[in-house]
Symmetry: C2
Subunit: 382 residues, 2 copies
């Protein structure tokens, strides 16, 4: 029996592909001669194209933000709880766009795509891309969709960095930036975790310098470790303690290297699942985009206030108290720089036991403040 | 030119080996038929053997706690700043013993030792050992050295767990337990980090199910990753930020997967160095000993107060505020259980930017409280 589509779902969506032939100059100095961006849209663009909202994804995200791909689809989009008819980001009001970023592995041009110059997957030849490059490519997608100015650019974590970058790269094209569980730049500890994850992939004998596609193998071991490690940093110590504690997988200790504790079983499962569908080169690229993000860097002593002086948007910044990956203090750095520039900013410091992952969870307080802010955006549109 | 020996050094020390032929029954149900323990001693045992202090090592530690092995030795023992003539643990007053635990790779019987039954390294046949097993083996070493009762058993991190275990396993044989930067049991997050480290080793193609010795290889990749990851958890976010921040290795970004940030270079160096001398099987065993440690487990609902009801020692418990691996709250759990039992306890909550590693660092406040507590122990001896 086919599963029904809930009333508050955007329903069945079909991903679309936009092909771009104009070369894209990248931060690294390289150029992408041409590329595809895969995207999905939900809701209807109004006559003056003033109700468009761009959703930027985080490390392992993609264009499938809400709804299902077919009636039997058991998996809904990654932010389906937030986006749909009557939901905080209400598709009865807004035209919502999700895309897969360059370098991704869900349809947009990335390392596993065929390089037209060689007829082989890009692999190691795919250039490093930055948050700025993504925002540049997203601006081209905006042109293609006839959106001169986004009502809002919205993202959590690495997605929040893109929203922040939009406000600086294209100040005229964004009315609101919604920056959730994010940071103005990574800390040494953040970079350190990313580097361990990358080293796990880069030193996997099946990595073959990034050209594993031609060898018929995948660096599963490395990607699995990277995901296991990442997962620890997405959850809070307390949240993990509440959910797993020291629960045993079996009644008694086995005194072996097999799984003993539930938390081990959970992490290994998450690692195995992820390694089965995600591309290791994409994982490397996404972590590098995180590391390099530092819009204040070229201003005196990394002055974020000066970097944001260009911005004209209004801002909604939210952080979760148990998030130790991008703790509330990191969001407050953003808020301070916005206040320094007398830019309108609403800041929410939200209680949650879910750590960094809280930005993906349905939580009454979080959803209430999101809804209130989106209502405000809609009043300006309507 | 040979390096001089400082006045406050214990000088040149020679490791000694104690061989035991009496089988040791292990927590796992296995038995070690016979084994060696390698140890070092500093200072002189007094006539009534009342001034003996046992130093228990942590994950990657060993018997070489203080001094040098030869005049040109550039590396001093791992706690040389704490132990020596006039130092907080004063070898003019105390007879100090350091040993390498069973399962180690510095001379005590471990996975890389020759299994007398097969003539080959134990490898995968070496049994899992627990903190309790270590304490049992340390008690036998005490007998051998003629020490009926330790003036103190001292340790940081996993070493602190051994001090705590001594107070429960052999309440009559320990007057003081000095438990630094430790915890009564691992949290789910602690176990999770350990499991990622283990999975890195276990899935390294060079691991060969633990019997890599016969294959002429070493699971260097896995051990390197494990150490890199461990290192992140030993340092504090702030301390790492102060030391490395976003400092670049080169003037400009290379936009590649090479080292960009100093923190990456530092971690990879630490990983490479460690993987060059430490045994991967020992690393696995030490992390399992951490995971299994939970002396309260067999009491009603994991009641630590009931577990410590057997103890008779006086306690010194210390924690460091930036230690997020074993945060001060974990030490306070121990303190609470001791207070519940009306056992004498001194607790120090020490400010430090060095995270978990602070217990190995020379810090005025930390050394002052250690010195004061050791002075008190000495007054009882003298």
């Amino acid at each position: 029996m086919s599963q029904s589509i809930e009333n508050d779902s955007v329903g069945i969506v079909v991903p679309q592909v936009a092909h771009f032939d104009e070369p894209l100059a990248l931060t690294s100095g390289n150029t992408l001669a041409n590329y595809d961006l895969v995207y999905e849209t939900y809701g209807k663009l109004n006559s003056d194209a003033s109700n468009a909202i761009l959703i930027c994804h985080a490390l392992s995200g993609h264009q499938h933000v809400a709804g299902k791909h077919h009636a039997d689809d058991k998996q809904v989009g990654w932010w389906d709880n937030m986006i749909g008819p009557g939901k905080p980001i209400d598709t009865n009001r807004f035209f919502v766009v999700g895309l897969n970023n360059l370098g991704g592995c869900h349809g947009s041009t990335g390392p596993s795509s065929i390089n037209p110059e060689t007829g082989l997957p890009y692999g190691s030849r795919f250039p490093v891309v930055t948050v700025k490059d993504w925002v540049d490519s997203q601006a081209r997608l905006s042109d293609r969709l006839g959106i001169t100015q986004w009502a809002a650019v919205v993202g959590g974590s690495l997605g929040g960095m893109q929203a922040l970058m939009w406000s600086m790269s294209f100040p005229e094209r964004i009315r609101h930036a919604v920056v959730i569980a994010s940071a103005p730049k990574l800390s040494a500890q953040n970079i350190a975790f990313n580097d361990v994850a990358r080293q796990a992939i880069l030193t996997d004998p099946d990595f073959h310098n990034g050209d594993y596609y031609q060898h018929g193998v995948v660096p599963t071991r490395g990607l699995r470790l990277a995901r296991m490690l990442g997962h620890i940093t997405y959850l809070s110590d307390d949240g993990m303690g509440e959910k797993f504690g020291r629960l045993l997988r079996n009644e008694k200790f086995k005194y072996s290297f097999d799984v003993e504790f539930e938390i081990e079983s959970y992490l290994r499962y998450q690692g195995d699942k992820f390694a089965g569908y995600f591309d290791a080169n994409t994982y490397l690229l996404m972590t590098k985009a995180l590391d390099y993000f530092d819009p204040a860097r070229r201003f005196g002593e990394g002055n974020l206030s000066r970097a944001l002086a260009r911005a004209k948007a209004s801002f909604f910044v939210a952080a979760f108290d148990s998030d130790w990956r991008f703790a509330p203090d990191r969001s407050r750095e953003i808020v301070k720089a916005l206040v320094d520039n007398r830019l309108p900013v609403t800041y929410a410091d939200i209680e949650s036991a879910h750590g960094h992952d809280a930005f993906l969870m349905k939580d009454p307080q979080y959803f209430a403040v999101m809804r209130r802010y989106m209502d405000r955006i809609y009043r300006e549109v309507a």
